[in-house]
C-alpha cells in the first residue's frame, strides 16, 4: 500500500515538472501576439545607404583619438558633438583630458563626456595608439566597459564602432607587423560589435587605394586626415547610417 502511494507521488511530482511548458504552449497557441524582430546583420559592416542630411549630426556624438580630431578641425560640422584626445590610450580614457581648442585648461575627460551624453548616435574611433600592443585583451575590456556604460545610460542608443583604417605608415611598426596588428585590432573591434549588437564601420571599404592602404591624398602624415580625407570620412559616415525601420520587423503569430 505504502509502495503504491509512493509510486503515485513520484509520478505526480514528475508530471508537475513537465506540464508547465505544455500549458504555456497551449495558452500561447490560443493568443495572437506580435514581437519586434531585429533583422540587422551585426556580423557585417554597415552597408552603403542614401546620404543623411546635415540635421543628422545634431543627434550624433563623435569620440576618438587624434584621427577623430580631423573631423573636428576639417569636418565643417557645426551642429555635432565631436570630442577627441590626442595620443589617447583607451586604458587612460578616464584620466586624459580632451583636446579643447576653446579652453586649453579644460579638465574634462572623454569618459566623462561619454557618460554624460544622451545623443542617439554615438561614433567611437579608438585603437591606433594601442596598435603596437602585443595583444588587445585589456583594450577590449575597457572598450566593453564603455559600451556597457553607453547602453545603461541609454538602452536605445545606436553605437557605431569605427574600425582602424590601414594607414600608410606607423613609426616603429613596419610591415608586415603593421598589417598583422591591424587585423588583430579590427578583429577585436568586430568581436565587440557582434557581442554587443552594435554597428561597425569599415573605412577600408571605400577609402583605400590599390595597395590596400588609405588613399595617399586623404592623409597628411600617413595617418591623420587632410581636409580632403576628412570630407571623404564625413561622406562615408553620411552614407553608412543604419535606418532601423529597414531592419526592425514586427512579426505577429
Amino acid at each position: 500500500m505504502v509502495k503504491k502511494v509512493l509510486k503515485k507521488l513520484l509520478l505526480i511530482s514528475l508530471l508537475i515538472n513537465v506540464t508547465p511548458i505544455v500549458a504555456e504552449e497551449e495558452v500561447d497557441a490560443g493568443e495572437y501576439s506580435c514581437r519586434l524582430i531585429d533583422f540587422y546583420d551585426y556580423y557585417s559592416p554597415v552597408p552603403w545607404g542614401d546620404y543623411v542630411d546635415d540635421s543628422y549630426y545634431e543627434t550624433a556624438f563623435f569620440a576618438g583619438d587624434s584621427r577623430m580630431g580631423s573631423l573636428y578641425l576639417f569636418g565643417d560640422i557645426e551642429n555635432g558633438d565631436i570630442h577627441y584626445v590626442t595620443s589617447l590610450n583607451l586604458l587612460y580614457i578616464d584620466m586624459m583630458k580632451v583636446d579643447d581648442i576653446e579652453d586649453e585648461d579644460s579638465e574634462v575627460t572623454l569618459y566623462q563626456l561619454l557618460n554624460e551624453t544622451r545623443k542617439e548616435n554615438i561614433y567611437l574611433l579608438f585603437g591606433i595608439n594601442e596598435i603596437r600592443n602585443k595583444d588587445f585583451v585589456a583594450f577590449s575590456e575597457m572598450y566593453q566597459e564603455i559600451l556597457t556604460m553607453l547602453r545603461n545610460n541609454n538602452p536605445n542608443v545606436n553605437i557605431y564602432i569605427i574600425l582602424a583604417y590601414h594607414p600608410d605608415y606607423i613609426s616603429n611598426l613596419p610591415e608586415p607587423d603593421l598589417s598583422e596588428h591591424l587585423v588583430n585590432l579590427n578583429t577585436t573591434l568586430m568581436d565587440l560589435a557582434i557581442r554587443n549588437h552594435v554597428y561597425y564601420l569599415n573605412l577600408d571599404n571605400g577609402m583605400n587605394d590599390a595597395e590596400g592602404t588609405i588613399i595617399d591624398d586623404y592623409v597628411a602624415d600617413g595617418l591623420h586626415f587632410t581636409y580632403e580625407g576628412t570630407q571623404a570620412f564625413k561622406d562615408y559616415i553620411a552614407t553608412h547610417v543604419v535606418r532601423r525601420e529597414v531592419y526592425d520587423k514586427e512579426i505577429c503569430e
Binding site: 587624434s66 603596437r132 585589456a138 616603429n172
Partner: protein
C-alpha cells in the same frame, strides 16, 4: 508488470539525480575548503602587504620628485594591460602617469626582476615611438628613464630631473 517497471525506472532516475549532487557536495567540496581558504587568506594578506608597500613607495617618489601636479595614479587593475607582464611575475604594482607627457613613476613587487624589466623596456620603446608623433620634445626623458631593482622590487621613473630621480630611486631601494 510494465507499470512496476516504469515506476522502478522513475524511482531509479530520481535517486540518481538527487544522489549525485548530495555525494559531490558532501564528499568532495567540504573537506578541501579549509586548506584552500587558509592558503587564499595568506596569499591575500601577502598581496595586500605588497600592495601597501608599492603604493607607499610610489607616492613617496612622486612627492620627492615634485610630480604631484603632473601625474595621476592609474587603477591597479589596468596596469597589466599597460606593461603586458608575464602572468605570475608581478605580485603588486603601483603606477603614476602624466597626461600627454612621458613622465611616470612605477613601483613593482615581482618574482622575476628580469622579466619585469624586459616588459618595462618594451613599454618605453612603445612610448618613445608614440612620442615621436605627438610630443618629440619628451623623448629625451624616455631615453634617460631610470629602471632599477633590488630584492624583488623594480622601480621605473621618467621625469625631467634625472639626477634627483636617480638618488630618490636609490634611496627607495636602500642602495
Amino acid at each position: 508488470m510494465i507499470k512496476k517497471f516504469v515506476s522502478s525506472l522513475l524511482i531509479a532516475m530520481l535517486l540518481m539525480g538527487c544522489g549525485s549532487t548530495t555525494t559531490e557536495s558532501a564528499s568532495t567540496s567540504a573537506p578541501e575548503q579549509k586548506p584552500e581558504e587558509t592558503k587564499e587568506t595568506t596569499q591575500s594578506q601577502d598581496t595586500s602587504k605588497d600592495g601597501a608597500e608599492v603604493k607607499k613607495l610610489s607616492k613617496q617618489l612622486v612627492s620627492d620628485l615634485n610630480l604631484e601636479d603632473k601625474v595621476a595614479e592609474v587603477k591597479e587593475r589596468i596596469i597589466p594591460g599597460i606593461f603586458f607582464f608575464e602572468e605570475g611575475t608581478v605580485n603588486a604594482s603601483s603606477f603614476y602617469v602624466a597626461d600627454k607627457k612621458a613622465d611616470c613613476v612605477g613601483v613593482f613587487r615581482v618574482n622575476d626582476e628580469d622579466s619585469c624589466k624586459e616588459c618595462i623596456k618594451t613599454y618605453l620603446e612603445t612610448l618613445k615611438a608614440q612620442l615621436q608623433t605627438y610630443a618629440p620634445d619628451e623623448i629625451f626623458k624616455v631615453d634617460n628613464a631610470i629602471v632599477d631593482s633590488k630584492d624583488g622590487l623594480v622601480i621605473l621613473v621618467v621625469c625631467d630631473d634625472i639626477e634627483n630621480a636617480k638618488s630618490a630611486v636609490n634611496q627607495a631601494l636602500n642602495k
